[in-house]
């Protein structure tokens, strides 16, 4: 072969390689000609390029299989257009083929998930996504900037966290139940103490008034009876407060946010935890005037209860005179700060950074779920707040919860001046409660000022109310068998709306979401049992005078 023909062969090899045929080779005819060196060099270069191309392809395939096989939905998007969606993303959106998503400028996902609106690279966020079949799922979205096809884009990973949300909600519920269950014995003790002298004093009063010791009671005996009844009344009030505090912890699943003062919530938690505290430490309250906060009071009560019980458990039983648990409220940069400080054993520095982790506990097996502080942190975070801890072993710990204030709209409303009950003429009042004792009690309490009758059935009451115009006001229980107060109100609202405006309600507890919503709607016209009769009289006066 001539040298020119050989050079032509080399040029052909170069062109083949340039066109991407990296398998092209040319055999050197000898090893001594410079051209053979060039040919072998080209062969080796082709081999290198071929190996690099194969490695790149393998790497691409590996990454593609990782992305495609990811259980999380992965989108690449630029501005308002999707550039790529993996199989999980298509499944999440109910699409069969990527072509349904890629290139789409107005795909519903962009409207449905504010969390991934736009292409701003951001950290982990949560949102709600309406799927093609109408289901709404909670999603967690993480976005990072990427280079896609040589241009900037955003890669978003979308994870369906609905199941996790439900599990977390169940965990929180479980923790609350455990907390309340743990304290049940203490609460029972708190109730039994006043009940003991309530029952004893009432028995004494009955004995005296029935003449059990013979003869008509004289003035001194009557004075003693009055004293016993006053104490019984005070004991019953203590029981009422305990039941009220217990109710603070029984939130409904769909409980809505309200604006509230943290101090009464703290007090409820203190009452619940007091039996744990009093044998271990003195309780010091240091409350400042703080703005109200927005959120779910029962859930924050759970946080405070948890922190108080932890504070109590950090102190050994039997030296209450040496230890203090201080509950302090204050303001930090316009935010509400609640501090619970103990003089207990403190927390080991190695444990300190883990105490908010789920299932981390230093309590013996069976005495702690390890969820308490994890749930506290979650609840506080959901209230746009922070929780932090300072601790020194042997000195004590301070847990600090900082919550956003509800703002100017949350200013306390000016107290209404209630009209004096004595200023009004006698009115006709119908009491409806399936417990006849409550009807009789109200009749006794109100008969000096009003003409009161009582029925135990809402249906009977409705018939009376619809057929005559005898009544100026109605006092009605909410939860009753056969016909509830809610149903009675609905009937009256439809058929006698002017009277519906003059119904006051009382309830021993709203157990269903619809009843709870009704009680919230009737706020200001609804009393919790056991109610204060003075409050009922004042409200009756308001209703009867149309205020």
């Amino acid at each position: 072969m001539t040298k020119d023909a050989r050079i032509d062969q080399v040029l052909s090899l170069v062109l083949e390689l340039a066109n991407g045929n990296l398998d092209a080779r040319l055999e050197p005819t000898s090893r001594s000609e410079p051209l053979d060196g060039v040919i072998e060099g080209l062969n080796m270069l082709a081999e290198e390029l071929s190996a690099s191309a194969k490695a790149l392809k393998r790497s691409e395939e590996s990454f593609r299989s990782l992305i495609e096989g990811s259980p999380d939905a992965i989108f690449v998007h630029r501005y308002d257009k999707f550039l790529y969606a993996n199989a999980a993303a298509l499944s999440l959106l109910g699409c069969r083929d990527a072509s349904e998503v890629v290139g789409s400028a107005t795909f519903p996902l962009l409207q449905a998930v504010p969390a991934i609106e736009g292409a701003e690279p951001r950290g982990l966020r949560e949102g709600c996504l309406t799927l093609g079949d109408g289901r709404r799922v909670h999603v967690e979205v993480a976005s990072i900037p990427v280079n896609f096809d040589g241009r900037e884009a955003t890669l978003s990973t979308v994870r369906d966290v609905s199941a996790r949300k439900q599990l977390t909600a169940k965990m929180m519920e479980m923790d609350r139940m455990i907390a309340v269950g743990t304290l049940a014995a203490g609460v029972g003790h708190e109730i039994n103490n006043p009940l003991c002298y309530v029952v004893g004093n009432l028995d004494y009063a009955l004995d005296v008034l029935r003449g059990a010791d013979g003869g008509v009671p004289d003035a001194s005996k009557l004075a003693a009876v009055v004293g016993a009844l006053v104490e019984a009344r005070e004991g019953a009030e203590r029981v009422r407060r305990i039941v009220h505090d217990l109710r603070s912890f029984s939130s409904m699943p769909n409980e809505t946010e309200t604006v509230f003062d943290v101090t009464p919530v703290l007090e409820s938690a203190i009452h619940m935890a007091f039996n744990e505290i009093r044998h271990r430490a003195r309780l010091v309250r240091d409350y400042a005037d703080v703005p109200r906060v927005r959120g779910c009071a029962s859930r924050l009560a759970q946080v405070f209860l948890n922190l108080l019980v932890n504070a109590a458990h950090a102190v050994p039983v039997g030296s209450a005179h040496k230890h203090r648990i201080t509950v302090r409220t204050g303001q930090v940069n316009g935010r509400v700060c609640v501090e619970i400080k103990d003089t207990g054993v403190g927390i080991d520095p190695d444990h300190l950074r883990r105490i908010f982790d789920p299932f981390f506990t230093t309590k013996p097996v069976g005495q702690g779920t390890g969820l308490g502080l994890f749930i506290c942190k979650r609840i506080v975070t959901e209230h746009q707040g922070t929780i932090e801890v300072e601790s020194r072993p042997g000195v004590g710990s301070t847990f600090r919860v900082v919550l956003a204030s509800a703002g100017a709209q949350a200013a306390l409303p000016p107290p209404k001046r209630s009209p004096s009950a004595q200023l009004h003429a006698r009115k006709r009042v119908l009491v409806i409660d399936d417990e006849p004792e409550i009807g009789r009690s109200l009749m006794r309490a109100l008969k000096a000022e009003h003409d009161v009758s009582a029925v135990t059935c809402a249906r009977e009451a409705l018939a009376r109310l619809l057929t005559d115009d005898l009544y100026d006001a109605v006092l009605c229980d909410v939860m009753m068998p056969e016909m509830t107060g809610v149903e009675l109100y609905a009937e009256l609202e439809r058929r006698k709306p002017e009277l519906a405006e003059r119904i006051l309600f009382f309830t021993g507890g709203a157990f269903t979401p619809s009843t709870q919503a009704f009680v919230q709607r009737m706020a200001g016209r609804c009393f919790e049992k056991p109610f204060n009769i003075g409050d009922v009289k004042r409200k009756l006066a308001e209703v009867c005078t149309g205020q």
Partner: protein, 126 residues
Amino acid sequence: VGWREHPLFRVALRADGILVYHPTPGGVITYEVARRMFELALEIVDGPKPTLVLMHDLARLTREARAFFASEEYTRCLGCQTALVVDTPVSRVIANFFVGLNRPRYPHKIFDDPEQALEWLRGCVR
């Protein structure tokens, strides 16, 4: 002092302590052959020795074989000052690819003259 024969190469330990690889003329050294070369060398040396590679008649050293001679395993067992002797355009290209792309971590140098290569290696032995 000792040597081993293979259809595609010969490996020998000289009296001056220099290990010699000598592929047969027109030989193609693949990964398998390179590995055999390594194993036979280990039979005649008790550790890394200055190495002379007579590449002049070599037809091809595959990519995988090059990678093996620069590998961590080879370097640990036999990696020592190495002289690559070339005298054809093909062997020169192969040696330069090995040095430039595989970058062996032991000292190495390309020579046209075997005597100069031996001289350089003897300096190491001394």
